[in-house]
Symmetry: C2
Subunit: 123 residues, 2 copies
DNA sequence: TCGAACCCTCACATTGATGTGAAGGTCTAC
DNA sequence: GTAGACCTTCACATCAATGTGAGGGTTCGA
């Protein structure tokens, strides 16, 4: 598919899709006319990238961890350098902390909303 | 306490503490000499703000939801406008999605690390 | 009283993720 | 064959979070 369709299906501007490619987050084939050509899994890939970006990870990190997230592994274990392992462990911990922070604060919001509802129904 | 101590205790630059204040995320008293004066809870507050910022929330949103997160409530229920409620519900859902994304990808990292370890021990 | 170590405000710089638009090539349908 | 809807690259703009430094006041200990 071409960039317009991918943009529409992922809710992402064309500009950003080109940017993600420039950052090495997604890859695109090229048609004979120079047009980018995406395969079906690109849709999920873009959505995943957007999710991680939205959760505060910079493109630099996303680029590093993405190959390890693929289900049929594209990166194999002998390729894993000690620095890579260290990066992954650090990011794993950081993501855990981020998620905890989000859930903790979300629960506080839920609690507040519950209290508001209770208050309103008592009026 | 003054800004230097708060900076040290929260691992935040003075510049950023002033920025957070400017954005209405933290409040500071003022000494007779114009120096900012922080109370003890400011430490937790700053840490919470940093956590949310790191998890991808913009200051604009943090400012809106922070009052609802305080344990002894500083914002009371009659104050809750319908728009406020809508914002909170939207952010609640967004935070849930963010946390899910983080945990899902973190688990994939964990899985990858496990596989690497297994591979290494088999060599 | 002097110097070090604080603090203040103001302002300009940078970085990363985005928007926007220009100048131009390609494809399709009329 | 021309118009409209795609696509390309390139470049400049913006916004939020953050760094940095200038110019100047305060506090405290030697």
């Amino acid at each position: 598919m071409r960039i317009g369709e991918l943009a529409e299906r992922t809710g992402t501007s064309r500009r950003l899709l080109r940017y993600y490619e420039e950052q090495g987050l997604i890859i695109a084939g090229r048609g004979p006319n120079g047009y980018r050509d995406y395969d079906e899994p690109a849709v999920d890939r873009v959505i995943q990238v957007r999710g991680l970006l939205d959760a505060g990870l910079p493109t630099r990190i996303i680029k590093q961890i993405l190959p390890c997230l693929d289900k049929p592994r594209t990166i194999y274990f002998p390729d894993a350098t000690p620095e890579m392992i260290a990066t992954l462990e650090a990011e794993r911990d950081r993501m855990t902390r981020r998620a905890e922070c989000l859930l903790r604060n979300r629960d506080a919001i839920v609690e507040y909303l519950d209290a508001v509802r209770e208050y309103d129904s008592a009026v």
